[in-house]
Point group: C2
Chain length 151, copies 2
DNA sequence: ATGTTTGCAAATAGTTTGCATCCAG
DNA sequence: CTGGATGCAAACTATTTGCAAACAT
């Protein structure tokens, strides 16, 4: 996904790194650039494969660490998926989720407005839509209080 | 999450197993029961820990296999999370996702109606909500066509 | 100069596979 | 009885950690 012009992209990257006291290394620049131009929400492994074409000496660890660092400083996001450790749910009725970003807890809630959401017609052409769910992200009360106590 | 009365639960379990030609084993019964009564979207490991109290000889593999089987026959769902392999995204603007359940592909889309979704007031008390996203699930065109060709 | 970042290697976590034994049907 | 299910062990995949060398500041 090309989100920003190259110039804007570089700008965002440098600003963010400087603000967090991180060094600007050629590896990180390449990793961020490839991530910005990729439309597929790549895994570290996929990124590494792509990057190796341009930068054969880069190690997978560096890619992994850079991506985690980007997520930590808000330059990128970790996207929801169905990987491990897998979480299971026997509640098959329509419901929605709140994720605590701190402790990983997932809470169910129901909301008739959310249940009734319309699926955009343009998507129905490309996908056979089987379900939908609203995912809220935030910090749960417990983690919030833990955080407050620390300060 | 207690979803169903024990009787309904047993009923759903037996019907589903029979329909799919699966044997009803004591292990599977316990695993399904624990899953139904758990409100936390447990991982296989967490389930195993819980189950061991009641059924000390059960192996983690059995729990894992049973949960995957339940998901396959529609008795349970795998819930979205941020586990491995982690997928990253540099698109920080509000957007939404369609997941292909077959190939795992994640597509971005935008939708102003979805962007403007109100957060239920009751949740705001318990959570500091930082973001929201609509996640659609289905089968992408490619996978649908692949499936059609097979038949 | 100096302290962060890198690349490699080893450790770990979660999952999957192979296989002999067991048991539901 | 018999094939599917279980439990164990080994293989595998993704990730994390420890550490010496490299390099951004």
């Amino acid at each position: 996904m090309q989100l920003k012009s190259s110039a804007e992209q570089r700008e965002a990257f440098h600003t963010s790194c400087r603000r967090h006291g991180l060094r600007i290394t050629p590896q990180r620049e390449v990793i961020y650039d490839v991530l910005c131009h990729s439309g597929t929400h790549p895994t570290a492994e996929e990124m590494h494969r792509l990057i190796r074409k341009r930068y054969p000496s880069m190690s997978l660890d560096t890619v992994n660490r850079a991506l985690l660092t980007f997520a930590r400083i808000g330059l990128a996001e970790v996207v929801e998926g169905y990987g491990s450790p897998r979480r299971f749910d026997a509640n098959l009725a329509m419901h929605h989720h709140v994720h605590c970003l701190q402790c990983g807890m997932i809470l169910d809630f129901s909301d008739p407005t959310y249940d009734a959401l319309e699926i955009p017609a343009s998507l129905k052409k490309q996908f056979t839509i089987l379900g939908h769910k609203v995912v809220l992200t935030g910090i749960c009360r417990e983690c919030r209080e833990k955080e407050n106590r620390k300060r």
